[in-house]
């Protein structure tokens, strides 16, 4: 395509990024790197500073200190930035009186992107039929699709998506997930925030986890799940009382699950098997449990939750 600029490397890099709103530190000396070719999830409890970080990367808010760069350049140094970076922000950014097509058209004109690209992205997100309708009448999901269309307008190498699943139905969420995976497989940088950890577990290859504006973890999704949570083992036996005694004597902890199994923590599966064998206890099941991303996340961010405690306790 004629209007596409020379390929630029698509790393997103935050270095010591700090942003205060009055007394409140929303982003606190945050450093991380987002690599191309994979989906990087940006996780954190409500109010952790995800949206603020995204706005800082896009040059909408000014940091108090630190830097954010894309391919080594600050956002405002990018010429025709929409052809390099596509951003879907959390807050509404469409005039409700303007049609979807005119919204995309004016954005295209600022970048010298030909108008036919507008129809392409409308088609891409399935809004062709309502392209001429005022965006004010759109549902949450349609607005989200329009935002994704705007992000894809310049066919950018780098995508920043703040809670793209917001307001989408299950089918829409699956569509976004596959879309992001496809973009990453094309070698693009996909940086996506979400509060749905389970969603990230199946979408993100890599995670940047923050709490109260500061970095908590930066690792692959796999590693994050394994490292960050205590492993547990599901055990089924007809002789529960006996095995429970043995496990507790060895320093393990036992809880009962709903359908009659025992969940053991503090002992690895092989040790439990040995204990059972030594006492001739029959085992029907001995399964190491992978903690869900949800649990790993809760564990890691415990103590850095902004609003959670007062509401849940």
């Amino acid at each position: 395509m004629l209007w596409r600029v020379a390929e630029a490397p698509g790393h997103i890099e935050a270095r010591e990024l700090t942003k205060r709103f009055g007394d409140k530190v929303a982003v606190d000396h945050l450093s991380f790197t987002v690599e191309p070719g994979r989906v990087t999830g940006f996780l954190g409890p409500n109010g952790a500073g995800k949206s603020t970080t995204m706005r800082l990367i896009c040059g909408l808010d000014w940091p108090d200190s630190g830097t954010a760069t894309i391919g080594g350049l600050a956002y405002k140094q990018l010429s025709r930035p929409l052809t390099r970076v596509g951003a879907l922000l959390e807050a509404r950014s469409v005039h409700p009186g303007r049609s979807a097509r005119n919204h995309l058209l004016f954005l295209a004109q600022t970048q010298d992107i030909p108008a036919r690209r507008v129809d392409e992205v409308l088609e891409l997100v399935g809004l062709s039929d309502v392209a001429g309708k005022r965006a004010g009448g759109f549902s949450l999901g349609m607005n989200q699709r329009l935002g994704i269309a705007a992000a894809m307008l310049g066919d950018p190498k780098v995508l920043l998506l703040d809670e793209p699943g917001n307001g989408l139905d299950p089918e829409g969420i699956r569509w976004v997930r596959n879309f992001m995976r496809q973009l990453a497989s094309e070698g693009r940088t996909v940086f996506v925030s979400s509060h749905l950890m389970s969603e990230m577990a199946v979408t993100a290859d890599h995670l940047v986890v923050i709490g109260r504006g500061a970095l908590i973890a930066e690792s692959s999704t796999q590693e994050f799940i394994q490292r960050s949570s205590e492993r547990s083992v599901l055990v089924r036996t007809p002789d529960q009382a006996r095995l429970r005694e043995l496990i507790v004597d060895e320093g393990g902890k036992v809880t009962q699950d709903q359908d009659g199994g025992m969940v053991v923590t503090g002992l690895e599966a092989p040790r439990i098997g040995e204990l059972a064998a030594s006492a001739s206890v029959v085992l029907h099941e001995l399964t190491p449990q992978l903690p869900s991303l949800e649990e790993a996340f809760m564990e890691l961010t415990a103590g850095s939750v902004e609003f959670g405690d007062t509401r849940t306790s």
Partner: protein, 260 residues
């Protein structure tokens, strides 16, 4: 700044209804009210009693032709000037705009140019429409032509005033960012503050009044300088332009400094 940015601002302005409604209100109010005044003056021409308008039609004809219609119609320009920028903030569209133009100032410049051109075209049409409609209604009593001294300058002056007024309102819209607050501020500056200042006795108040943005600005729409005027038409217009330039500069400075 590129042609693309100008095209984008044109797309933004033409694609919302408020633009069409404001411009329609401007044209209808200005032409309608001016015509009404001309008809009333014409019908009462030979009635007994004092006729201040008849005297003014000889000393400063454009003040009678333009004063009532544009005095009211200019408020539509003020409203449009404010909303071309404040609506971006109230709707969040500013975020999309600044993602596309992160240096920000080129966006503001393109917006100012496109809006000023629209304002200029609409004002030109309306000012000359008012001039020819009103002078033809009054033609059996008084002859006013563009070749009389100061008349053409006053017509062009009215157009220039209305154009700069739009930018003046736009700057305040960009500074205040809230539509209602900015409209209230502009209207206060245009029609509330000037008469209040004249209530203060003394020559200093008289000078302050003369240098108020729109008090100075409208002088360019008069056929001749009046005894009470502190400034000449072009001086007055210069003062108005300085006010507007300073406000636009402040608007640009804060656009760069503030979070979007």
């Amino acid at each position: 700044m590129t042609a693309g940015l100008l095209a984008a601002e044109w797309t933004k302005i033409r694609s919302v209804r408020s633009t069409v409604w404001s411009l329609l209100a401007f044209v209808v109010v200005a032409i309608g009210f001016s015509t009404l005044v001309a008809v009333v003056v014409s019908n009462n021409w030979t009635r007994p009693g004092p006729h201040p308008n008849q005297i003014t039609l000889h000393t400063d004809p454009t003040a009678v032709l333009f004063g009532p219609g544009f005095g009211l119609g200019q408020l539509a320009i003020c409203v449009l000037g404010v909303i071309v920028i404040s609506s971006e903030y109230s709707t969040g569209a500013i975020r999309a705009s600044l993602l596309a133009v992160p240096l920000r100032i080129p966006m503001l410049a393109a917006k100012a140019i496109v809006f000023a051109l629209i304002d200029l075209v609409m004002s030109t049409i309306t000012v000359f429409a008012v001039f020819f409609i009103s002078t033809s209604i009054l033609s059996s009593h008084v002859s006013i032509t563009l070749s009389q001294p100061g008349v053409t300058r006053a017509c062009i002056g009215a157009i220039l005033y209305l154009t700069v007024l739009g930018l003046f309102a736009m700057a305040i819209g960009g500074l205040i960012r809230h539509t209602a607050g900015a409209i209230a501020t502009v209207i206060a500056l245009v029609i509330v503050v000037p008469p209040l200042i004249t209530l203060i006795p003394g020559t200093i108040a008289n000078h302050v009044h003369g240098y108020l943005p729109t008090v100075a600005g409208v002088l360019i729409g008069q056929t001749a300088q009046q005894p009470a005027d502190v400034l000449s038409p072009w001086q007055g217009f210069g003062v108005f332009c300085v006010w507007t330039a300073v406000l636009l500069a402040a608007c640009g400075y804060l656009l760069l400094r503030r979070d979007a």
